[in-house]
Symmetry: C3
Subunit: 350 residues, 3 copies
């Protein structure tokens, strides 16, 4: 990257102090910024770090005494800095339009305008790719899929037959969408596969991390709502439904037929039991296992998951279990002594 | 899909009621079936849903008053419906025979009859592919592997050198078989790799989900028995042995050298310690960590895993820990009071 | 493989007893060794197994009465056997030099001497590949990466833009390095992506298993130190730092900004909270969740993780909770009886 401060300010629209032709060749946190970098501080708590920094320029929320370097002053430096980062990231992600000669695109696929299809990517029969979509190398998209406008599919993603993906979806490498759900019937001591003939339907503005799996439904649909964000190594099993704007942090384990509401936050390494219904706006703490349905707005933690305050209380008691056990021993001794006393006492009671 | 009811009945052999030329273009659950669909109900518990459904036809277990639509009557609608689903799934999975021109198949590989090898797939020297095997695009199969008859290897699977896979195996995308086990020797404060020169041997009728890893043995073999089913994101470490017909649900973590018996059910997100021996017919509940060996037929749960009833009892007590703690406090108060009483009492004892 | 004992001894430099021209066609553990194999025993504890073995030859630590087969005697049979295994493994891993005609290597990439680039591998603009590096088929390496000398990148690995990987790195299939970290800003009830414009920097002598993900930093770097070993299915989130020679066993979940010291052992299925600081030489037991920072040398276990002895004590008490509850009940009964006695007693007290 190579920007002038003037150029950066034209993106974030702040008040520029210092030389607008200052050359910026990198971005960094205030702790790590050096020669050529632009950084930001979100508020006064980082002023000392800014003053100690070797950064070339900064996005800040007010003029700062003793900071002599070029700066852009804005109301919300974090938000404004993100605007600039969006420009950098878009630049980094930009791919040449067109279809790489080594890609295998079916003649019956329908391709939107301004698409980019990378090397060795396979797009099978009847699949539609939306306008401005980017499909990077070594991707496989099976038959009769629909990929929305402005989708960005990273390398080595597999999207299986009949999957629908909305606009502006981003899917990171190694993720597999539409593989068979895990369903068997026990018959004569053997496991007979229940064919998985449903589909996966993914909404708009969804982002899915790396090495995630979202299985196709047995019948009907596995559904990922609009605006859902799914982190690496997560698994959404067959027929699960994830509501709009819900977040699944890494290693979310959503079992078959579970229904997760809208605006739910599932923290890292959480298991949701099959067919559990998690209401809107729930928060599930990291490492939890949710075995039962949760009403909307629940805040739970633990394994099995309990209301957060209850779990915290229980955890604080578990920590003191050795002490509790000692108290019981002490009480037993006293009771023993008391009994003896009673016995002695009894003797003396007329 | 486009079937007539007559055609469907020719597959499932029931008693057809209504127009055999009715066109069926989809399958769905009784809750979601609509125009053009065929659905099923497994028993009387779903009759009301069937009557309320907009399905075009149904597979049912008896004539139902008020259900005016075409139907196929069979003894076990679930099993019969699965037969039809198998037909649909086979249709969906069918691939053209032959080797895609972009595939790289070694001249020293041995290829069975009627195989299908997809685009960009690499098959290395000395590897044998069985009859009727389907290898989809972007697959890598290393040297000297054996892939059985009727195997179905999905896109982006990696099968490493000297792996043996039995007949009718299905392996879903992103799965890696035969990568090195994780073994190091500590020497002068550094980790020296123990070369992993064993192999992986997979039996017949095995199904392996997406993004699974099965590591090659250090020496000897990692073994997956006949009829084993392994769900997404699972990991079978070096030298582990999985007995016939065992099921590993998602995120099974089978550590090095563990020996899992036959017909074991490992539920989701279970860890089995290295070298633990899990007897035949065990059931391990979801989220458990099994640190010790288990005799055949054990049913365990928890972390560390305990006999199910014991763990349930413990869990029910943990829930009441705050109450228990209060009781101890009350007892302490009473004991304190009792002591005082005793002291008072003592005074009165002559 | 096909070696003579003479040849093997030329690698491990021991004292050969028996026919040097004995042909060895396999390696196996003492339990499984058979015709044509060479095996080893690490010490006297396995002498009985060796005598019962059908191996053709063995590497042993002393002459053993009754063992009539050819043998190589060395000080440390395990270490010497590993030397031989290294030779076998190197042989198995060896790839032909050159660039496969189906690989897509950018004209602006810089390629070292004696490299091997496999079929369908994509190497993007500005990337440098070190001398003697092996990049196997279906790999994607994005723009402006640096891959060190003697690196070995297995099939279907994805290495994203601007990643730096040191010398002698080994990366197993399905692993994704440099995908975006998981960071969003809440704005008007929606999740706005925080662009991830940092990088990943990986040191020398690092080994990374299959289906691992290492995310790029939001700003600055995600760092994997020299000599780090990472097992399958692990996840290192954005801006995490892993110190030299640290080991992450399978399913390590290192959250954003966590700092792990040097020579740390993170056992299987451990979660480390975001921004937690784990000191050098810590050991974290399998299945733990570490929510807080740990001083150097800590040995912890559990969820939440506690000092090992404390957790063991707590676990041993949890096991006896039913008994504890019974004791409290008994104490309550006695207290009840005691009260009655007191009441009775009181009556008698003048």
């Amino acid at each position: 990257m190579d920007y002038t401060l003037d150029k950066i300010n034209s993106i974030i629209n702040g008040r520029l102090i210092g030389a607008g032709n200052t050359s910026i060749t990198g971005v960094a946190s205030v702790e790590n910024a050096g020669q050529g970098d632009i950084t930001f501080i979100k508020d006064d708590s980082l002023v000392d770090k800014l003053l100690a920094s070797e950064t070339t320029a900064a996005v800040i929320h007010r003029e700062i005494d003793g900071f002599q370097k070029p700066a852009i002053i804005v109301d919300n430096p974090f938000h404004s800095f993100i605007k600039f980062l969006e420009t950098i990231a878009a630049e980094r992600n930009a791919q040449p339009c067109g279809i790489h000669p080594s890609a295998c695109v079916s003649k019956t696929a329908t391709l939107g305008a301004n698409i980019s299809i990378g090397a060795n990517t396979v797009i099978d029969d009847g699949t539609q790719i939306g306008d401005n979509a980017t499909i990077r190398p070594n991707v496989f998209i099976g038959r009769d899929c629909v990929i929305g406008d402005n989708a960005f599919i990273h390398p080595n993603v597999v999207i299986y037959e009949q999957t629908t993906i909305g606009d502006r979806a981003t899917i990171f490498p190694g993720t597999v969408i539409g593989a068979d759900g895990f369903g068997y019937l026990q018959k004569d001591g053997k496991h007979v596969k229940i064919p998985q003939v449903g589909v996966v339907e993914i909404g708009n503005d969804v982002e899915i991390g790396a090495n995630v799996t979202i299985d196709r439904a047995a019948l009907d649909k596995t559904v990922i709502g609009n605006g859902v964000k799914i982190d690496n190594h997560s698994h959404v099993a067959h027929n699960a439904i994830i509501g709009d704007n819900t977040i699944l942090v890494a290693y979310a384990k959503i079992a078959g037929g579970a229904v997760i509401g809208k605006n739910v936050l599932i923290a890292e390494d959480v298991g949701i039991n099959d067919h559990a219904v998690i209401g809107d706006n729930c928060i599930v703490g990291g490492g939890s296992n949710v075995y039962k349905s949760l009403p909307p707005g629940s805040v739970v933690w633990g394994s099995p998951a309990r209301p957060l305050n209850e779990e915290k209380k229980i955890q604080s008691i578990i920590k003191r279990l050795p002490e509790m056990r000692q108290k019981i021993k002490d009480l037993e001794k006293k009771a023993q002594a008391g009994n003896q006393l009673s016995v002695i006492g009894n003797k003396h009671i007329p």
